[in-house]
Symmetry: C2
Subunit: 497 residues, 2 copies
């Protein structure tokens, strides 16, 4: 059947979809969610069919394509295309197989990931896949296939080095901007560390948001390669690169039920690392009350899962459990966190000691993993690199290579709408709540407005007097400042005993 293209110029967000008039669809005996082949000259693409009975939207003889299809096939309004029925993708059989509790082989997992990567599955079909992986689990072998398939579906950064080091933190701790310390320390030690990071989704700042205060983070893969060749390391936004791109699509599907199939969590993290050719990966699992993982046994179980994969994937994965109960650093929000990082690198009197020490700890482990320090001597070496300002200089080099905006922490702009919050009683600070801190910082405007957030004057372990300033809020406007003030119950943020 020959139909005339009508471009809708609306994105579906993911799936390749075309819309046919119900009368045309009946003629070809096609139903909603069937697959059709659209052919224009020599180019053929299989897309998912949707059907409308509304002739105001679509007349007989016309076919609407959504933006993703238009772009892929370079279609113009009134282009004539031929439509034929296509088979359902084989991956649907494999997804059904997993939902039936059976095991998938390498080719089957590769086909599913290829179809997701090429927008050949719709939301319903992808959901069956995540549901099947969640309800029926993937075993180690299947997880390895998933990791490799997800890695190979995207671009790969080739690094001219036998050892490529990387780190990942499971998250859940406010502040905690250790990557921005670890990268310059290790790069200064001569190790290749092509770091990609994410932007914030539900936190007040991601590493990419924070680094963006200092320099550009939207960098092409080629540029990234050049920077790593010159400076050994970089700190770029992963979202701008086509690295393990199916991960984002799967995460989108997992969101409504906050599903976290372990196999997909592992695959998500490791495939991103493999796609930048990492050979040595440190995983930081913060745990404890108020953190993402509250119980030690859950943190240990996750550690074990990573370690099991390590052996089978042929890469070195080391997992450490860290204290996740309280925020790390003084500033919360992109600019305030960037300032903390530069203070630590400069060895500035204002520097947050907890962030400095955690950075040294992680870098120490990584130096040992990569053979740059003897067992037990990594931290010492990391501290020396930091103290000598070599890491600071390396960071300035990286910032300049990525397109510097600011290198002086005192020039980082924070919002002028500031409010000091005082202690509600006299005593010792025994805890600062991660989630409440995030809430306040986001409410104040972070990460959208980079100069907003929270700044801790007093931290856990310190003694305070009633009425003494314990933290500051930087909001995007006077009205936001008022709203935050009214909304917060500071007893829920600071625990004073």
């Amino acid at each position: 059947m020959e139909l005339k293209i009508k471009n809708l110029k609306i994105k579906t967000g993911r799936t390749l979809i075309a819309l046919m008039n119900s009368s045309d669809a009946r003629e070809l005996d096609l139903h909603s969610m069937d697959r059709i082949k659209i052919t224009k000259k020599n180019r053929t693409e299989t897309v998912i069919l949707d059907i409308t009975q509304d002739s105001k939207i679509l007349k007989k003889g016309e076919i609407i394509v959504f933006e993703e299809v238009r772009k892929l096939m370079n279609l113009r309004n009134n282009d004539k295309v031929s439509i034929t029925m296509a088979r359902k993708p084989k991956s649907l059989d494999y997804i059904k197989r997993k939902l039936d509790g059976k095991k998938l082989n390498k080719e089957q997992i590769e086909q599913i990931i290829w179809d997701i990567g090429h927008n050949k599955l719709n939301d319903i079909e992808m959901t069956y896949f995540t549901a099947a992986c969640y309800a029926n689990f993937l075993d180690d072998e299947e997880t390895i296939h998933l990791i490799n398939a997800m890695t190979n579906e995207g671009d790969i950064l080739k690094v001219n080095s036998k050892k490529v080091i990387d780190k990942h933190c499971i998250g859940g701790v406010a502040g905690n901007r250790t990557s921005m310390l670890v990268v310059p320390i290790l790069a200064a030690a001569g190790l290749k560390i092509p770091k990609t990071s994410s932007r914030s989704i539900t936190s007040p700042a991601g590493t990419a948001d924070t680094m963006e205060v200092l320099c550009n983070v939207t960098i092409s893969l080629n540029k990234m390669k050049t920077i790593v060749e010159k400076a050994n390391g970089c700190l770029v936004w992963g979202g701008a690169l086509n690295l393990a791109p199916t991960d984002d699509k799967i995460i989108h599907i997992e969101k409504p039920l906050s599903i976290d199939a372990k196999s997909q969590l592992l695959a998500s993290i490791i495939s991103k690392k493999l796609s930048v050719s990492s050979t040595h990966i440190l995983i930081d699992i913060p745990w404890g009350e108020g953190s993402k993982i509250e119980k030690r046994k859950d943190a240990l179980a996750l550690k074990k899962s990573f370690e099991k994969l390590s052996r089978k994937l042929g890469v070195v994965i080391k997992v450490i459990l860290t204290d996740g109960r309280n925020p790390i650093g003084k500033g919360i929000g992109p600019a305030l966190e960037a300032r903390d990082v530069l203070w630590v690198l400069e060895n500035h009197p204002n520097q947050p000691i907890d962030l400095r020490e955690k950075g040294i700890k992680l870098a120490g482990h990584m130096l040992e993993m990569a053979g740059k320090a003897k067992k037990g001597e990594g931290e010492k070496k990391a501290r020396a690199i930091l103290d000598s300002k070599k890491a600071y200089k390396k960071m300035i080099e990286i910032i300049k290579l990525q397109g510097a905006k600011i290198t002086d922490p005192d020039k980082i702009k924070v919002s002028k709408y500031k409010k000091e919050i005082v202690a509600y009683k006299t005593g010792k600070i025994v805890g600062i709540d991660n989630q409440m801190t995030c809430k306040v910082a986001r409410f104040a405007g972070a990460p959208e407005n980079p100069g907003t957030g929270v700044f801790f004057i007093k931290k856990v372990g310190e003694r305070v007097k009633e009425g003494e300033v314990i933290y500051e809020i930087y909001a995007g406007s006077n009205s936001k400042l008022k709203n935050v003030e009214e909304a917060i119950d500071q007893r829920k943020i600071y625990k004073i005993k």
Copy 2:
């Protein structure tokens, strides 16, 4: 936040969705798939949020609502509405619970079905529900709750009688239009049988398509009530009524993977029957090679599931296994099947004996179930009603009440584009393939073009000579006839030995 309505006039098909500009969404800290409350004066509705970054589609300060939301809230372009964040529906927790393999209680299942019924869940969320029910099964108690929740979510036809009888066939057999015999026989016997049927989805004709050749089948619930009060029975299209409406939504979600969770199959069938107040239900399970259920043990397992529910639901359910290997009747396609039915009711010499006998068999069981015949004497009574033309007269009465089109089988129009197919060898016909028959009839134009399809001259058990006409194809046009001829391999339809 106050926003200005922009109606898109496009249906989502199911879910209530509104689209916000990414900058407005960020201000309220909202993400894709979050829930928002839209308030216009005193009317508030919770809908699912989608976010666009394309300011060509949606400017800051505007909100797009899809057609379902516009209609529900009676919104006009430029209406000012207030937007606030809403909680995620509780049913998402319950769906997660089932996906985790836990049991759901009555209230939890009711909440899920209410949310599906009110378009509060999107495709991803509904898929998690069907996947959870499929992978982790619903036990008998959960299935009962599901059936009741699905029934109560829609309208209920109240019938002024203690006994209301109904039947359902699992399908998979071409022709097999027994409802159109059973309804007039039982109604003539004084039993209430308010029959709703579906249209064809993948077959050449559903009962609703076939009945529509003779009269109107799109009937309101009130009109249906009046007809059943007058004539004891009716044969209407269920799709036009709001009976157990969540069923269609769940079926849509099950389609891509052809999932048939047993609990949902049972709930789908029984909730439709309970919504017309049925007290006595006969289930026909055709089985055998080439049928939907090929193995006797699978047919028996399904029979057992129905019978178990019967006791717990307080309705009488009887299940019979029938021969599903071959088509039943001579005509395949709406008009040809309608003609078969009238021929049987008229006791016409052309009548297909297999259809007549199957109708009598089912009606016999139902007469016994409802206490209108002693055990073992149902068929005799059904045959007498049929032979006496009482069933014929009853059918004419029902056709007239529904708005008659045709009552004389000889006036039913079949397509003039006809082709006779001859036997490819001499021998005995040992089988006619259901699926191939359906394919040919649909290819010829059924059910879209009601006068098209297949007509069997010779049936299973008969001896034929090579070159003798064994069946006819009625197509929608000369070109369709040619296409069908070229496409069919008659050895795949008729098995001659």
